[in-house]
């Protein structure tokens, strides 16, 4: 899966989790940019990504992430 396809898949997940079709998923996107991005929706987001890509992350891996770009890098490293 190339980066564009990955961001398309992530966009669908973000739109569903945050119930907001207007979110534009970019590498720079952070929780501060999305009003609904609270602790519970963060859990929903991580679980949805794990399920979509058939991956499992550790708590440490997830807690280190600073933006979507780092999440994408984590997905790529796990899927490699």
């Amino acid at each position: 899966m190339n980066n564009n396809d990955l961001y398309v898949e992530l966009s669908a997940i973000f739109h569903d989790v945050f119930d907001d079709e207007s979110i534009v998923v970019t590498p720079q996107l952070t929780a501060d940019d999305v009003d609904e991005w609270d602790s519970l929706s963060h859990i929903r987001l991580v679980l949805a990504i794990e399920r979509k890509f058939g991956l499992q992350f550790s708590a440490a891996e997830v807690s280190r992430l600073k933006n979507v770009g780092e999440f994408v890098a984590l997905i790529r490293s796990k899927a490699a």
Binding site: L40, H42, I43, R44, V46, L47, E50, Q56, F57, S58, A59, E61, V62
Partner: protein
């Protein structure tokens, strides 16, 4: 005068492994049915009128599904995982009615625990007289 509340069990994520089980036994009283009717505003005679319910083929007034979910709340909030558990979702399929005063139990079994988020998936089963009343699932976040 102070009131001592029942204390919730404390399970940390490391305690929670697939297969861990907890159970709450209960029965629903007529007073609880009346209180729930007033709380919910649901005065449907299937829940409030024995004769009406019998006329519809039941053995008496049927316990509110909401009261069964209340017992799931007790299971999650007090036993599995207890003090630090916060519901994220619950889903129940009701299979059989429960009647006022009938002994019942709700059982939760840990199905999985997410390493990344601490989300616990529970399988739920409610039974009375050895028969399944309802089955379902719940997602519970363990607050860290």
């Amino acid at each position: 005068m102070t009131t001592t509340l029942p204390q919730a069990r404390v399970l940390v994520p490391a305690d929670l492994a697939p297969g861990l089980q907890a159970c709450v036994e209960f029965h629903v009283t007529a007073q609880q049915m009346q209180q729930f009717a007033e709380l919910s505003g649901d005065f449907n005679p299937l829940h409030t009128d024995d004769a009406f319910a019998r006329g519809k083929g039941f053995e008496g007034a049927v316990v509110y599904g909401g009261l069964l979910i209340a017992k799931v709340s007790q299971l999650i909030g007090m036993r599995l995982p207890g003090r630090d558990g916060v519901w994220a979702s619950v889903q129940l399929d009701f299979r059989r009615p429960l009647y006022v005063g009938q002994a019942a139990e709700v059982e939760g079994v840990v199905a999985s625990v997410s390493a990344s988020t601490g989300m616990v998936d529970l399988k739920l089963t409610l039974r009375a007289a050895g028969k399944v009343l309802a089955k379902g699932t719940a997602e519970v976040v363990v607050a860290r």
